[in-house]
Symmetry: C2
Subunit: 192 residues, 2 copies
DNA sequence: AAACACTCTTGACTATTGTCAATGAAACGT
DNA sequence: ACGTTTCATTGACAATAGTCAAGAGTGTTT
């Protein structure tokens, strides 16, 4: 259990066996069925979730339409960080696109680990730094590139997600309507 | 010197006088004239810059058109983090919109501080976490909201920047053409 | 003071994306 | 295996944003 979690952890920060055991004591496993919520808008986000198996999404809802902020498949971490850290109401929803097995770091576990295990803080720092850089790139491509190029770069960057997730969710992730993505794919196919 | 830097630092992580002196030894002051580059695409980003006075922007260039990723005024931090951390070529440019006074943390200072001063690591973690959360919100509003609402929320969130920076740069930041922003402002004014 | 660069606005036109509605195919649950 | 939901596609039309070109107002430089 927690194999993938510690594999990803150790890619960033190596751990001795004892350190790993120490950290393990703070983790909570959780299973989620497809369509089940991990977090709903308005609740307080009580954990950071690492995906051991399955696929989740994080999204906001605006006038009834969903906007996907993030996907998370095996090896990824997902949370409403703002709500988690401040205790304020979450503005995002998180639910499972497939049955999933998660490793949860609860708020209290997070705080204890920050106090007791410097390597945890380092891991968190590196994790968020990587997420930040990825998000900067996504934003840059969003304000710079036409939809078609954003779509091809998405499928090249995340071919696994592109295959596992319905098209209209990729459209939502990209910030366009499903019909628009469908037409763009058609044009691309015709050109080939 | 470095007043604002340490004020912002201590808002996140309190320091003793000795700790502050220790950290101060790693900082480098730098002045930048209006239009001067701090970083050019293709170079390696050699420092994280904190703005004591003035205003900078970070932007990418695509087919000759500029796309502003970030503004930074007093109290903000700016860098091409990816290039800084990996030593790869920068994909962003950073230059001064006004004469500016900066506090630089060079790569070697950054590494030494991470080793020697745990509070520096904590500060960095919190700094990036805050930046990450802000960026998530910006992306959410980019994929969710029409341009007009993005513009009003920008001016409400950053009234200081909205006043100091030319309109076409705000358009670039929002990912629309200057003409479009101009027309949206006109519509808004007519409705009032 | 004249020349220049920069910024913002506006108009006419084009391109892209969204909306609404309908259809067929595939996947899902029982 | 059946009915139900979910998904993707398409068409006709509307709304939004981009392109190109021109002009006016500012402020700066020399």
């Amino acid at each position: 259990m927690y194999e993938l979690f510690f594999q990803k952890f150790q890619e960033k920060v190596p751990l001795t066996d004892e350190e790993q055991e120490q950290i393990k004591a703070y983790l909570t496993p959780k299973k989620l069925r497809k369509r089940q919520y991990l977090l709903q808008e308005g609740e307080v986000c009580k954990a950071i979730a690492f995906v051991e198996r399955g696929a989740l999404r994080e999204y906001s809802v605006d006038n009834g339409s969903e906007h996907i902020l993030q996907f998370a498949i095996e090896g990824w971490t997902i949370s409403d960080l703002f709500s988690f850290l401040t205790g304020e109401q979450a503005t995002y929803n998180i639910d499972a696109l497939e049955n999933a097995e998660l490793v949860l770091i609860t708020k209290s576990a997070h705080e204890e680990l920050l106090k007791k295990q410097p390597k945890y803080e380092t891991y968190m720092r590196l994790l968020i730094t990587g997420a930040y850089i990825a998000l900067q790139r996504r934003l840059t491509s969003n304000i710079s590139l036409p939809v078609e190029e954003r779509y091809t770069s998405f499928t090249e960057m995340y071919p696994d997600i592109a295959q596992r997730v319905p098209q209209h969710m990729i459209a939502s992730f990209m910030g366009v309507k499903p019909e628009t993505l469908s037409r763009i794919r058609k044009k691309m196919a015709e050109r080939k």
